[in-house]
Amino acid sequence: MKIKYLIKSLIYPGIIAAVFGFISISFSTLLFSNPVEGGTINFLGNHIITDEIESQGTPLADAAGPVCNVFGYSIVTSLATTLIFGFGWVVISHFLNVDGPGKSKIYSIYWIINSAVFTAILIILCTFVFFSGDSFLGSQYISGEGAFTLTIGLSVFYVLMYYLIVLLGTARHNRSSVFLAFKLPGNL
């Protein structure tokens, strides 16, 4: 395996990671700064935080802080998981023994397993964070519907990020193992 090929195949995934990473870090930074008003707070108040806080007499501003923290941590954790699994696959794809025409397809099972494990971890992670009120203070204030929305939203976002990384970063000679990667131009 030539290191220069691996470095070459890290360029596009690097761009994807930078874009998604920037969005993630910016958003999580915003969340960790405990905003008291603005679009994020409105969104959390309208869709994520349970209506029960009003009956408990807890002001939205008090509940929003812990929810922002939980949300921010889940973003950072999801980002790290995505980077590990995405770039992990990119590196592994260069080491898989594609020793002839047609061999790459055999490794699609590896990719499917990698992707399934990644998605499962992502969902389990979000579920654990958002649905487990005992472990995280902020999750006590998140409604069932809100937890579901965050889990799906984060999963879609990071699965998309993961897919773009593996799509553009898988070793060229191993592209047949990744769903639709064969559609890419030969020299990309």
């Binding site: 594609v98 020793d99 025409p101 070793a171």
Partner: protein, 503 residues
Amino acid sequence: MKNFLISIGGTGAKCLEGILHSCIAGLGPEHLWVGMVDQDQANGNVSKSKILLNKYIDLRERLRTTGKDDVSIESDIFKTQITVNKNDALWLPLKDADPKLSEVINYALLKPELKGLVDCLYDTQEREQNLSEGFRARPNIGAAAMLASVNEQDESFWQNIYSALEKARGGEEVRIFLISSIFGGTGASGFPNIARKIKNIQNDMNVTGNVHIGGALLLPYFNYKVPDDFNEIHASPDEFLDQTRGALEYYSKLFQHQKIFDQVYVVGWEPLMKLDNFKIGGNLQNNPPLIPELYGALGALRFFDEENKMLGNQQILHIGKSEDNEFRWSDLPNISSKIDAKEKIVQLFKFAYSYHWLFAPSLTKRNWKKFTNENWFKRHLNRSDVNLGTEEKQALLSDLKELSIDVIKWLSDLNLSSERGSGQKFNLTDARSIVNYDPKQFSDRIKLSENLTNEQKKQFTDLFYDSYNSSLRDVMANLSYLKKVKEQSGLGSFVDTLFRSCI
């Protein structure tokens, strides 16, 4: 620079086989004219090299056609443009069917005193021997036949030499290299006579500079057992050493009195390699390729290399291998400081291996569509000027497969037969892991399996001793990542990149 190679006799033809394989690998000069000299045109060694020569010329032309299938001028594969005599690459000193020495010298018409002289030099059996299967290791017969025929200047074979010397007169450098054994019939008689004939033509044409003549002489390097009850005139290995001593004394005197050669490469081998196959000539004489022939071939290519400067004196060059009982890649001489012979030969073998076992089965008319989504296919074959469904492209792919088989068999046979014959350890390639070798099957010693097992594919990494070995995964990766050459067209992109991928 114009380069001319004349292979003389069976050993010359075997060396030519090595030269042609080396030229496929990119070790040859830009241009090379090749002529073969042998009286035994049906000889298995000669016909094998002649077939390979024709294959080379044909495939090179088809892989270097601008706008069609072109590997581009930058590519090393089939780099050398080889041309041959327009009628036939092979020159037969005696043209008639079943020629005899008595007919060549018009024995019946000679005066009695001349007949007496001829009787002193040749016995009746030698005079009446049918020479259609060569000179049977009798240089005295060959010399007479050669001298009687090299004066036929109208022959197109010699016309090529004349036109070369004309070019030298015009200022272009011309290098002519002769290659043969010192101990046979055709080679031993042809080598000095043809060289002297060329020198004479040069003198007659008053071409004083720009012409350099080189040669490779192979001392005895093999022997074989002749059946006790065999009575016909034949090449007897017991006489090789005596013949060689006589020939060396002759050359010693020749070199003292006349400067014919600029460089002479003398190749020998100790101990002599034992061959299983004894045949007096004809198509059944199909000797295995042996390592001294590759030395001769590399000597020829070194002579043609531009880095090789002619010093004006007569150079006798020799090279030795390490003294232990083992032969390694490092024992193989290089052609120049820029060209690593070992690297290129290994590259050619890997190319042949990859093409024969991996890509040829995937690119058949029935299978190629299954691979159109793979990156190597998209990069190199998914082009407007490539349609693998056409007979033309399939024919080219099929001929490439045939060439790959030739290459695999040649290098495997070279290693295994040299090892078997010499009793020395030949550590070039672990050929036994991919081919079946049966030295008793003279016409087909090496058999290739249809498919490779996964275990065999894994052994690709260890196929070459004493060498950096890439894996098949590296070949696939290179094919997907190596930079393409803009000027390439048709199948040229795939063929050249696969060759470059096999480093």
